[in-house]
Symmetry: D2
Subunit: 339 residues, 4 copies
């Protein structure tokens, strides 16, 4: 999968709706093929808590197919990203094609740092993220759709991790904007006050935040197996301290590119091709994928924290980065003595 970011940072000081400060962005995930409509992936989803949006899920649930690029952004810009993904796909259609698109677009709420009601995300930012999408290492922390996000009381945002499993790879990308400070655990260790840590916390009225998790694998999974992987990612969220809080939109999508040639499952255009041959991971290998998803989700959240740099946003509100070295030192001081 290829990932592209557009990061929008502009202005400082008091909130002036429509002017800023702007701390937001767009991230796109191209699932495997350039044109997911022509080369769809099996997919499934899971809701840990539903105070959030991830469009396109009814089609995922019904057909088990991911047929679009995935977009991520802030809560109030899901629409513009959705329609811009459609417009971008339309521009690449062959003459005479008449497709319908139901893009998968997720969000978390960056209104503590960002002028979220200023609606600063525009279609051109989606196009830029698509143009920037690459298979190389993914920038993490406060970039792209993760720009204005907070996680467990520190700066959050984009995080990624992957595991190799029985010849396949499982990758996880999170947009981490969830969790309370006092519930944070890393490697099972509860993270107490860090040296130099300043009391942060969301301004009163805001929601606790949310996390979007995208799980990708090249294993040959059926749609139901993708759904099972998505569900396991929730256990990883729980290990770091998330609880699917009421105010949190903890939505998870998993897709698998190990089966190809799924186009005839989408619509009538490939009429007459007959049954589609696919493969399913057997029972003796699926648990390893489950474990990989749990671990990679856990690590991706920690990576989002470690990559998150201290940021000041609207009305001077500041969120500290957890600081990779600071955290590492804390952990080494608090590890079990002999393990």
């Amino acid at each position: 999968m290829r990932v592209g970011h557009t990061t929008l940072i502009e202005g400082d000081g008091p909130l002036e709706v429509g002017r800023g400060p702007v701390r937001t962005g767009v991230t796109v995930i191209v699932p495997g093929a350039d044109d997911p409509w022509a080369e769809p992936a099996f997919a499934g989803c899971h809701r840990l808590n539903g105070n959030g949006e991830l469009t396109g899920l009814e089609w995922i649930r019904e057909a088990g197919l991911l047929t679009t690029v995935i977009g991520l952004t802030n809560t109030h810009s899901v629409g513009v990203v959705r329609d811009a993904l459609i417009a971008a796909a339309v521009r690449k259609e062959a003459p005479g094609e008449q497709r319908w698109y139901l893009p998968v677009v997720g969000e978390t709420y960056d209104g503590d740092l960002n002028d979220i009601n200023g609606m600063h995300v525009r279609a051109e930012h989606v196009d830029a993220a698509l143009a920037a999408a690459s298979a190389g290492p993914v920038a993490e922390g406060g970039v792209g759709s993760g720009t204005g996000m907070q996680c467990h009381g520190f700066k959050g945002g984009i995080g990624t991790a992957s595991r190799a499993v029985d010849g396949s790879t499982v990758g996880v990308l999170v947009q981490a904007n969830h969790g309370w400070r006092d519930r944070l655990r890393v490697n099972g260790i509860r993270i107490g006050p860090l040296p130099g840590e300043e009391p942060a916390g969301r301004p009163g009225a805001g929601p606790e935040g949310s996390i979007i998790v995208i799980v990708a694998t090249d294993a040959p999974l059926l749609p139901g197996q993708c759904e099972r992987l998505a569900q396991r990612a929730a256990l990883g969220v729980g290990r770091v301290g998330g609880a699917g809080e009421h105010g949190s939109g903890d939505l998870i999508l998993a897709f698998a590119t190990g089966n190809r040639g799924l186009r005839p499952l989408v619509d009538h255009d490939t009429q007459g091709t007959g049954p589609v041959a696919v493969r399913a991971v057997p029972a003796d290998l699926i648990d390893n994928l489950f474990y990989a998803v749990i671990e990679a989700a856990e690590e991706a959240i920690v990576n989002a924290l470690v990559a998150g740099q201290t940021m000041t946003g609207r009305d001077g509100y500041t969120v500290q980065g957890i600081g990779g070295e600071r955290l590492a030192e804390y952990l080494s001081n608090h590890q079990g003595q002999t393990s």
Copy 2:
């Protein structure tokens, strides 16, 4: 698929719990292979209304696999049928095998006609139904688990129907014990009072009844596609007048035998076999399966009615058979004039 019935009819007159009258039974459905554990079928389920029991659904939902024979009976005998199906399967295990079974057993309530609390179904009746299972024409109406059932104010019970679709077959078996008299429609025609019809109706305290629908096909479906077929059967129930009433347990299972060799998806015993090759029906053919299920479910309910013979049960309570000829005459008198 093979179907076997054990019909239990004994005694007349006033209800004496534990003595009778008995109007109940057991029906078993062997999904394709003799040993569904060794040769499972993909499967999916749907709930139109949940005032009923169909055991084994959590496994169906998780793995999409039917790994046991299906049993049907009355509401208060689900347990004995379930355990007896396990015992029968255990007896056929190879030495040293250690399987677990989660059988699919459904029920509807025959307490208006039957001494349901007398618990007259015993393990031996399950064994007899298994022994009787054959691929030939299925006896319909008040037989097997359908013995004491009522449907839309008439005698109901077992009904079946099938459709040929694009080289595949779709079969539906219902245990029809649901529906009000005044909502009954056949071929879209509301069935008014029939000549000689006597006001029937369930005794006051009883539930409205329920319907179990089993959809079987030899098309090569994935689990999610089976679930979609199961959902369409609900539309067939609705066409005859069912509404998924609050007191009704309208539960539907669909399984597909078109994919074989699914054993490695069950557990670790086939370790090392690698991905399992399966096939999926493409988009341009699935609608025909949907239409077939709707029609066959509709017809199966009507067939259960037509096959149902007038029955008198506990406390002299009598339910009339709708009478095939009487119904046919009514329909021919009420068809649209030119169609």
Copy 3:
């Protein structure tokens, strides 16, 4: 509930993407209170087939609360309508409020008649629909989001119907863009060729279309009861001939305004209020609501057809209106002779 339409009709002749012809629009449904965030309604949803979008459902599923205005439009304009509904709500916030919105916006595909990829729906059209929202009779057929819709081979669009039930009212609004010509049934009667009917049908590549159903009631329902009502609407769709076809996005939302004061269930802003008192419809009344939903859904679809006027759209493609008189005459000629 109040309903408002913006109808966009412009241009004729060959499709020129971005120029037209335009045959589309926006419809908004204000669920009861002017500000659904301050006065939410319990809600539930159901998927008959998922080839469609209805945003906001994860929140509905999790909390059972409808906290926004509902928007309807074409498939490729869901995003702009969603964000515009947010912007409109934001404009009405009190100073210092910091809400998050997850609007419910649905769609069906009007690309056979409309330049759908021209993205002609803009935020101002949403504002106009909101301004036009009234509690009076709802314009039906090819208006608002129903402008470019087709249904069972005829002109479709918006349809409504309602039923009085035990002191409550159940209303249904459909955006009907689904169904094949040869499956159309009205009152159970299959509608054969009508006098003067010209063979219509969607252009080759398009999907079969979709239907969005909104069920509203002032009965005091719990969220799970709303979900049950939503599911029954699917049976109404089935009665007219819909089958939840693979290419169809048949999504249903039901909400109930009979419980008020639900604001403390949304977020922390009403902290300290304690348990929220609500009421639930008892078992002996819920079936009547089910029947009302089935009937009203059925009638709403027929009303969409009857209100639909012949329309010519892109590339000269014409869809006939079914014609209320023509249909009535057909029905009276084909009713059962004595019923």
Copy 4:
């Protein structure tokens, strides 16, 4: 809630199906009222992994009502326990009553220690558990349905824990028979080899086991809120090392007794009572219930381990108890140095 156990331990040595050794039992949970049909509780459920049985869930999902006593046992005895719970309820009916029962009965697999195919659980054992049910402290470990269970490589079985939350209590009871040895974590600390620990492990062919979790609270929850609590229990399972493995039946039921007088929601017998008044926990309190469930589920599993005593079963297979002191010592040696 009241809990009662029947523990069946008999015989030693080689497995002789039908003779033993017997290491199994029955546990019953009486949800609050003596007669849950007359005084139902709102309830909801969650599936972490579906390789298991918990009967009665379709009714729970549809109506959100727990109307029976809950039973727990081994995998192959679910049926006998289910029907025996019905028989026991029938015996307490008033003359002329005609109820239907859909009991909730769960299971995990004890076939490594127990002659599971010998079907040693009988109706009288259910009656004994019902007679023994008391509100006092619950015996834990290898008792009742937990008798033959294993958990994370040690002796498992029944475990309980509770938390006080904002004036309410949340209690969790687990039947813990799941998890691998090398994934076990307590308080986030991975449990390495313990002094004197002997390599255990399930015999080759058996499944990994399962966990049933019952969550009970006296908070006034709606059915959907119960479902949310059930889902959070899965995060507690994950914290101890469970992953919802493919071979595991990880099924969760949550019920809430804070709303009373729900009988009119069950069926027509209370006709004419009108809407039922209930209460819902508001948003500002629900998270505390979530946290309590996660913690109590985690603790209940650990309690099952700590209470589990070394047991030898069929064919001399022995499972060690983890040993409370041994575990405590390990934990104190491996705690973080300063926390």
